[in-house]
Symmetry: C2
Subunit: 156 residues, 2 copies
C-alpha cells in the first residue's frame, strides 16, 4: 500500500521492464549488490502493492496477422465514464483504454484488428454503449521503451 520506492526497487523495476521473462532474481541481485532472496522478496512486495501490475509479452501485431491498429477518440458523459471502462476493455479487439482529461473527447480506445470490419464493429459496439466516436486515426508504427527514471545513473 505504501510507496516506499528506493533505488533497489527502481533497479528491479527497470530490469523487469527490460526482460520480464528471462531476468532471474540472481541477475537483478548482481546489479543491485543484494542477494537473490532479497530481490525475490522485493518483487513479491511490489506485486502485492500493485506497483507491478503484471508481466506481458510485447507482440508485433503486424507480423501475427493483425496489421490494423487504430485510435478511437470517444466522448462519454463524465458521470458514466469510469464505469464503462471495464466494458470497453471487454470488446474484442480493444487492447487499451485511456481516460483523458479534456473537454470533450475524453476516452482514447486503442483497437487492433485484421481488417477494416474488425475496427468498425468495435466502433459500433462503442456506439451501442452510448459513446460517440469523435475521431479515428490509423497508427502506422508503434514503439515502446522502458521508463528511464528507473535506471541507475550509470547504465543509460
Amino acid at each position: 500500500m505504501a510507496d516506499d520506492i528506493d533505488d533497489v526497487d527502481r533497479a528491479i523495476l527497470h530490469a523487469l521492464q527490460e526482460d520480464a521473462r528471462n531476468m532471474s532474481s540472481g541477475d537483478i541481485a548482481e546489479r543491485t549488490g543484494t542477494s537473490d532472496s532479497t530481490v525475490r522478496k522485493r518483487i513479491q512486495r511490489l506485486e502485492s502493492d500493485g506497483v507491478i501490475k503484471g508481466y506481458s509479452a510485447a507482440i508485433d501485431y503486424q507480423q501475427s496477422g493483425y496489421p490494423l491498429r487504430m485510435l478511437l477518440f470517444c466522448t462519454a458523459s463524465i458521470s458514466e465514464r469510469g464505469d464503462m471502462i471495464p466494458n470497453i476493455l471487454d470488446i474484442d479487439g480493444v487492447v487499451s483504454v485511456q481516460e483523458l482529461v479534456t473537454g470533450e473527447q475524453n476516452l482514447l480506445v486503442t483497437v487492433v484488428g485484421e481488417e477494416d470490419s474488425d475496427i468498425t464493429s468495435v466502433a459500433q459496439a462503442l456506439l451501442d454503449m452510448g459513446l460517440t466516436v469523435a475521431d479515428e486515426v490509423l497508427v502506422r508504427s508503434h514503439e515502446t521503451k522502458p521508463f528511464g527514471e528507473f535506471a541507475s545513473e550509470s547504465d543509460e
Copy 2:
C-alpha cells in the same frame, strides 16, 4: 520471417501476454496439448521472427512516484518523421511513440513524469528536434488488456 501463426502459436502468445514471467513452458504445453520442449521451440521461433518483441513488466507509474502521464500530439515533416523516432524514444520520460496516419499531427508521444517540469522539458526537447507540439493531453487512467483474438474459442 514467415508468419505461419497456427493455433498453438496463438495459445502461446495469449499465455505470454497474460503472464510472461510465471507462465512456464510446461503450463502452456498443458493448455495446448503439446510438450514443453515444443512450446520452448515455438517461443524461440516467435522471438527470432520478431513476433514476440520482448517481455516487460507492467508498472503502475502512479504508485511508483510518477503520477503524470501525458500525450503529446506532434507535427513532423513527413520526410524526417521515421528517422527521428529513435531519438524521441531516447528522451528521458518518453515511454512510447506512435506514428499516426493523419494530415498534420502525425506523431503521438507518451510521456511519464513526476511533476510538470518533467513534461515541459520533454516538450522542449521535441521542439529542439524541430517538432511542433500541437496538443497536450493529460491521461487520468490507463488500462491495457491482452489481445483477445489469440485466445482459444473456449476460454474467454
